[in-house]
Amino acid sequence: MSILFNGRASGASDSAPGLVQRFLMGIVGHLRQAVSSLGELWRSPVWTFVTIAVLGISMTLPATLHVLVKNLQQVSSSYDQSFEISLFLKNDITETDIATLVTLLQGDKEVAKVRLIDKTAAMAEFKQESGFGEAISFLEQNPLPDVLLVTPAQSQPAAAEALLNKLQKERFVELAKLDISWLERLAAIMSLVQQVVYTIAALLLCGALLVIGNTIRLLIMDKKAEIEVMKLVGATDSFIQRPFLYTGIWLGVFGGFLAFLVIELMLYWLRGAIANVTQLYQSGFVLNVLTLQEFGMLMAIAVSLGLVGSYLAVRSHIKAIEPS
């Protein structure tokens, strides 16, 4: 559009009438600028490399911690599975009472599984395992109670505790027991670790943001003369900004990919050591790597850091450059 001269043909909009064609032209223009921004990065390889390295490393640390937390959660959740509430039943109840109670519990939504260890079976097991076999056979009657092992449907300690309190009040139950404190501690530590990870991540990413902003600022200063000329021949600020924003995006892409590579290499290197440990503990632990979704997340964060960092630099510095 021409402001001064009404009706003066100006701009490609007058020569390319089709809306679709203009849209395609726009896309082609953007692609061209994206590619030329990539080429622009090659012109100052040292700064580019330093910036990508800073971004990559800043992303690697929180992402590694994230993987660590994820694997710890996997370990702790395998413990969650195994926690059970032991219900010691009263001595004087009949087998029908027990059967009723089992049916009742199985119908409860909060209960995942009920297993009965009756006193005879418990005695036999105890005899075998404890090594008191002979001494026990002198007992006149079985001192052990019947026990119900109840697995809560929800694996959070809080839910398990609520269930425990409820079961405690059952008529046939002498004592209900759940060793939960260590699980609570584990959960608390996990959430602490998670918060530390997030705080460190936020700080590191702020640092990365500043480094990207500074790199873009240097690029802008480097092209000061060129920007002045562009302003003189009628380029808008947003036109001048665009290549720098693309540069920021490219920095993000490379930085994110670098972080991904470093994490994968590290996990690959650790895998052997972890296999040794898990073998010694006879555990079925499998090291969790980054999923595709997490990789996408990593790249998205890196690219938006690049974009925001360059936008912050561009917004203040391009406006400040005026031809004189």
Binding site: M1, S2, I3, L4, F5, R8, S10, G11, A12, S13, S15, A16, M25, G26, V28, G29, A225, E226, E228, V229, M230, K231, L232, V233, G234, A235, T236, D237, F239, E322, P323, S324
Partner: protein, 227 residues
Amino acid sequence: MLRFELVSKSYPGGFVALDRVSFELQKGEMAFLTGHSGAGKSTMLKLISLIERPSAGRVVINGIDLSGIRSGQIPYVRRDIGMIFQDHRLLMNHTVFDNVALPLVIEGFTGRDMARRVHAALDQVGLLDKARCLPATLSGGEAQRVGIARAVVNKPPLLLADEPTGNLDPDLSKDIMRVFEAFNQAGVSVLVASHDLGLIARMRYRTMTLKSGKMINDGLLHSEDAE
């Protein structure tokens, strides 16, 4: 086309660059602006291209008061004005073609349409064969003509030149002036600031003379005045 109404420009510190200057340039007219350096020539051109704003008075182009132009609209105003500089201000790491194409790229031209216009502009200044050269390989006169091609490539109705022959020898200066004459004959309004009085006098166009910010002469300049 271009009108100054009692325009003054003073800078912080009290220096008065222009003092109540008025004139009007008609559509399709060519005029020279002359005076010693520091007389206010550059300031006048900067007020037209909105690099500076006047302290008082109005600058009007085609009936539109430039004081009403917001900073976001300045780029669009500049697209209507072709500007030529003494130091030609070419992008040194881009080819002649890319330099001339810059205003078109900014306006969204691409491909064959753009190339056709760039070649036409280069043809008009006689540099079609240098399209693939870098500015560093050109002579001073050639570089200046590339600057002119860039200024006219999107066919602006108004052409401003600030000391376009400042660094050139007399023969080349004459060539450059002929290029301006050719554009003027094609209907473009041209305003050339220059202190090359001898050359201006020979060209026999309207000449405005500035002295310490005041317009002291507006009309034909005769060779004898130039001494």
